[in-house]
């Protein structure tokens, strides 16, 4: 009853082609954005902004980037963290070396730089596929981190190789408090996520999916493989690059190349596997799961232990947390191998019939 499309007639192409064709979805997304933009800034505390919401949004953006490449275009990549590093260092250098450049231009520049590097490392994708491609992108991971460490120019000759992000100033306003940074990150992520949603259903997105499902067949129906794959690499790296710039400027404040390790690439990959491949929503759900669950367990476990009077030390809690986290990942993968986004979809179908399932 809650989620029925009966009675929603579409009388024009525009109505049929809109981003969210079902009225409930439209209302839902508007409500969600309204809550994110208007309610959360009023009620959330500093801890929520800087420790939970900002990293969640940034990693969701990175996962979205990887999802475009891996989930939509079917090219497995292990270099997402490296592309984030490119974005972070590029934004820093734009701010440093171009006098008076607006910060948003730096972010876009960071995305474009990452896109350029992404295209470079995407070239092998024409000849190698699947796991072999993953190994090739692994090379990107190591090469980029090595490169940023090796050449001091990238970190402005800082003796330690660590860069410290400049102040975020837009139109003379300094984004200093966590709340302002959250709003900035949220705006960028919302725009880019809607753009991705749009892209996924355009001819570009359809070409990606055709290549993913069977590249020979895609070629036969007239999709040129090289530009399609490279475009996927470029767009994906653009998203990761912007995420990296936000990671440096709005989250940590100072970053070092080693921070963008393979471990981080794996985490982003896990996010899309858990969240759902080839789904915009999945990127967000996956990021939430991977980032927030450990924090939740970390807070909930000692509390539970205290409740039952168990003598848990800090280290024990961490071990148990890793254990529970691993078990939950396996549970979700077994119950729903297509990710959390698929669970949501099933939920929607059920709601469509509720309360009279047949």
């Amino acid at each position: 009853m809650l989620y029925r499309e009966a009675g929603q007639f579409k009388s024009s192409y525009a109505a049929d082609q809109q981003l969210f064709p079902i009225r409930q979805d439209r209302i839902g997304i508007i409500l969600l954005l309204a809550v994110a933009f208007l309610v959360i800034p009023l009620v959330a505390g500093e801890y929520w902004f800087s420790a939970i919401l900002i990293p969640f949004l940034i990693f969701a953006l990175a996962a979205l980037g990887l999802n475009i490449l891996t989930g939509y275009a079917g090219q497995l990549s292990l270099g997402s963290a490296a592309f984030m590093a490119v974005g972070a260092y590029a934004a820093y250098n734009f701010q440093l070396r171009v006098e008076g450049i607006p910060i948003l231009f730096s972010f876009i520049g960071a995305g474009l730089t990452a896109a350029g590097v992404g295209i470079l490392f995407g070239l092998p994708s024409l000849w190698i596929k699947g796991f072999y491609l993953a190994v090739a992108t692994l090379a990107a991971q190591f090469f980029i981190v090595w490169c940023l460490t090796k050449f001091p120019w990238f970190s402005n000759h800082s003796s330690s190789g660590v860069i410290s992000a400049q102040k975020v100033v837009i139109l003379g306003h300094v984004f200093a408090s966590p709340r302002e940074k959250y709003l900035l990150v949220l705006s960028i992520v919302a725009v880019l996520a809607l753009a991705a949603k749009n892209m996924a259903r355009s001819s570009t997105g359809r070409a990606w999916m055709a290549v993913r499902d069977m590249d020979v067949a895609a070629e036969v129906i007239g999709i040129r493989l090289l530009p399609t794959k490279l475009l996927a690499f470029a767009v994906s790296s653009f998203y990761c690059g912007v995420a990296g710039a936000l990671y440096a400027f709005c989250y940590l404040g100072s970053v070092e190349p080693d921070g963008f390790s393979l471990d981080m690439s794996f985490r982003i990959l896990f996010m899309i596997i858990i969240g759902g491949m080839g789904s915009i929503l999945g990127s967000f759900l996956g990021a939430a799961f991977i980032l927030l669950l450990p924090i939740f367990l970390d807070i909930a476990l000692p509390w539970l232990a205290g409740l039952f009077g168990l003598p848990f030390s800090n280290a024990t809690v961490s071990h148990i947390q890793i254990l529970v986290f691993g078990a939950l990942i396996m549970f979700f993968l077994i119950v729903e191998p297509h990710g959390l986004a698929r669970l949501w979809q099933i939920g929607k179908e059920k709601l469509r019939l509720w309360p009279f399932p047949h």
Binding site: S164, I295, D298, N314, A315
Partner: protein, 438 residues
């Protein structure tokens, strides 16, 4: 119906206990630590020592002037993002009253430098972290206490120079380092020293994690240097010591940094480690009076933090104690100025950390002689000492082979100043005037 009541009451009691922890008359310590993960073993020793000393102060003196110490730990697994999350989680309590924050991770301390300054919470980086924070005019809330990588490198060169009868002209020194922020920081200092003392310096990086170093040691064999100064980390240390034995490089010509000189590094290397030297600012051993007393008071009361008591008296355990001693002394100083018997907040602790004066006599009073060099900080010098000892592994334990050696301050501190100025310019910070500080 009564069956429900008991758990309910217990829950209420648990909540009451939780809220008591944050009572006003306690001095809170946010402890952002790691005891699991890749460097968990190091963290267990360091934070074991840290917490044991806080417990010791509570048990022995009933706190600082009657203010009990309380703390809450949060696990970072040496991960920067988790470190930030932990910091944010503990921040609310720390804003009421706080001890200095010790994160024992360069990455996390870098991520926290701006945040702590904004939140007015003092960040201590003992022997790691951003070294140019020595310049307190740009970094009011960051304290690279005791000594920094650059000063340590300079002190090691001084030690070598003394061994070579005051002349390094024409000598060859190889700097073998972990290719990361940690390993690269001393390079500037070494290059300056090389210019000054006219020795040839060769830089050889080792990629993380450094468990394969045959190429590097082959190069060292070809170069045949007089000394190898070694900046290793984790598994890299034992590998280097073993590799040195393999190519026949004398271990007593090899001097490591303080993160390459603990039992965790030498014991796994076995026989190869005999004669290997490393810098340190605290001696090992449980015969230091304070350590012995901690063993008696804290472990005697069954409140010890270490699960493995064999770690008691190791280099890193004693280093944790030394960090806690410094923190507690800073709190004493803050109470001295802002009111005895009251918890102090971040701004007050900051003042105390900038005006520390821990003399030899005071160290003796605490029983911490040789756990720390004497320290006197100021606005222009957040380091306060810059002294290290060189110790040698005799096959079973670390033995100090030198007195306190001070690095060349006149050479190194201007480097910090220049680097801090650049940082201030990039960030648009106006440095405060140290001459006006009381």
């Amino acid at each position: 119906m009564f069956a429900y009541r008991k758990p309910l009451l217990m829950t209420a009691a648990a909540f009451a206990m939780l809220s008591q922890v944050a009572a006003a008359e306690e001095q809170f310590f946010p402890i952002v630590s790691y005891r699991v993960g890749p460097y968990g073993a190091n963290g267990q020793s360091f934070y074991g020592g840290f917490v044991d000393y806080l417990n010791y102060v509570n048990l022995k003196d009933g706190g600082i002037n009657g203010v009990k110490l309380a703390w809450e730990e949060c696990e970072t697994e040496y991960n920067n993002a988790k470190g930030v999350e932990c910091y944010e989680r503990l921040k609310a309590k720390a804003k009421v009253s706080t001890g200095p924050l010790h994160v024992m991770s360069t990455g996390i301390s870098y991520a926290l430098i701006d945040k702590t300054a904004e939140d007015k919470l003092p960040l201590a980086m003992m022997g790691y972290g951003r070294t140019d924070a020595v310049d307190g005019s740009v970094f009011p809330y960051a304290f690279p206490l005791v000594t920094t990588y650059q000063m340590q490198a300079s002190a090691i060169i001084k030690f070598i120079k003394d061994k070579e009868k005051g002349n390094l002209d024409g000598k060859k020194i190889v700097f073998l380092y972990h290719d990361s922020a940690y390993g690269k920081e001393p390079i500037v200092a070494l290059q300056e020293e090389a210019k000054l003392n006219k020795f040839a310096l060769t830089l050889i990086p080792v990629a993380h994690p450094g468990n394969e170093q045959s190429a590097q040691w082959l190069q060292i064999r070809q170069e045949n240097p007089d000394y190898v100064v070694f900046w290793g980390w984790g598994v890299m240390n034992q590998t280097a010591i073993k590799a040195a034995q393999k190519v026949g490089f004398a271990r007593d010509k090899m001097i490591g940094s303080w993160w390459a000189g603990s039992e965790e590094d030498t014991v796994p290397a076995g026989d190869a480690a005999k004669g290997y030297m490393a810098a340190t600012w605290n001696v090992a051993g449980s015969d230091v009076p304070l350590i012995a007393d901690i063993k008696k008071v804290v472990y005697g009361a069954g409140k010890g933090n270490l699960q493995d008591q064999a770690k008691l008296g190791t280099i890193l355990y004693n280093r944790g104690v030394s960090a806690a001693v410094l923190s507690v002394e800073a709190l004493r100083g803050a109470q001295e100025k802002y009111g005895k018997g009251k918890p102090v907040n971040g701004e007050q602790v900051r003042w105390a950390m900038e005006n520390l004066n821990i003399t030899d006599a005071r160290l003796k009073e605490i029983g911490a002689t040789d756990l720390l060099p004497p320290i006197k900080t100021s606005c222009a010098d957040h380091e306060g000492s810059g002294m290290v000892k060189i110790q040698q592994w005799d096959g079973a334990k670390w033995v100090p082979v030198s007195g306190w050696i001070e690095g060349n301050k006149g050479l190194i501190h201007p480097l910090f100043k220049a680097s801090a100025q650049q940082y201030a310019k990039e960030k648009g910070i106006t440095p405060k005037d140290c001459a006006k500080e009381s």
